[in-house]
Symmetry: C2
Subunit: 219 residues, 2 copies
Amino acid sequence: MESKPKPIPLGNLAETGADEKVERRDAAANRTLILQTAVALFDEHGVSDVNMADIAQAAGVGKGTLYRRFNNKGDLCLALLDTQMSEFQETMLAQMRQMTADGETYMAQLGMFLDALVHFTAVHQPLLCEIQREGLFLLSATLSLPHFWQYMTVSGLLQAATTAGEISPELDIAYIADALLAPLKTDIFRFQREVREFSLERISAGLRSLTAALAAAPS
Amino acid sequence: MESKPKPIPLGNLAETGADEKVERRDAAANRTLILQTAVALFDEHGVSDVNMADIAQAAGVGKGTLYRRFNNKGDLCLALLDTQMSEFQETMLAQMRQMTADGETYMAQLGMFLDALVHFTAVHQPLLCEIQREGLFLLSATLSLPHFWQYMTVSGLLQAATTAGEISPELDIAYIADALLAPLKTDIFRFQREVREFSLERISAGLRSLTAALAAAPS
DNA sequence: AAATAAAATGGACTACAGTCCGTTTATTTG
DNA sequence: CAAATAAACGGACTGTAGTCCATTTTATTT
């Protein structure tokens, strides 16, 4: 368990190593072609109404080529979200650093993070929905990138809060981190938005009330 | 919003009305035949390794017949779970009545209910997994039966706890009820069990710590 | 520049979900 | 009991995900 007050998620979410073989020129060209085509189709018809065959055809490549780059639609969507996830991450880290400098509590930082995450989830819902449809979530923890770094951030902040005495040391941080993020999984999030018709503010407030309860409970 | 201290979920989960047309004899026979066949196949190969065509063939009926009774695999699994859900429900209601009689708090009852639900989820995980795979969850709130009555129970208890002054009246009960149930959705539950390797006790304890925090926080 | 090896390509192919509709069977009515 | 009607039936059919592999393209070596 990391006990550093400041969690440091991985930098670039897509390529981790340095010894990665360079991609052949035609392959690289096709990757960008596919991504651009996918964006165009998604914009026109909506993410859920576009299938892999459509993308392959529109991009003028075979299905084999498409699947060579992206194992499934979720994988492709993950690639489309990569940049924005990195930016969001950067912004959050900066904000948290600032708040620490301003003497704000870690639980306050957690509240801020969850608020921001609610908005991020709302904005990117269609892509996140596809990303989460796959078993991506299950594969060896490391592989659901979105959940992974969200989890790292939340558990890092909870750990820091524990060390700082803001919450009880009895709490199971690993569990609580998952549990706080659970209602932001797209199926539940969509259910709350579309069926229960909760506003984003209501969802944010609900999550905050949970963190507030944790902070207020006796150790 | 129901403010009764005791939530009363619907009795029989499958058939609600009284004016339901009687099923033709061959249809009824096929339904039981299909269900029995499905159970046998599920037992032999595991729920996830059996598809609808397999079931139809093993039962000696056409796919059309199968789909006429059950819209999809999740629907079929829901039918298989119907009895056990009703029993679980009955047991819980009885237990809660007893606890109320013994002067236990509603939040204590909530803890008990969540504990039991963790075990129920673990035992029936494969079926629940199929049930939740479908958009069943999304359709008009009423239609995800498992979630629906779990939600009714939890929100009912929270409401009662509020009235009894056990938790802050500021809390958004509808939100909290969803949020407490969210980590028991099968994708997250399986992730915690299989990847994080959490024990059932750890999961129960984690949920309890959340309810405890709610109960302990000032109003 | 030609030969070779490795990687990439396209589209046919398999597998499964779910639909459709012409035929059969149970039930009701006369 | 026979005819009429409505429900149920079976399996062919469509649509989509994802795999496979013979062929083509790129990069490397001589």
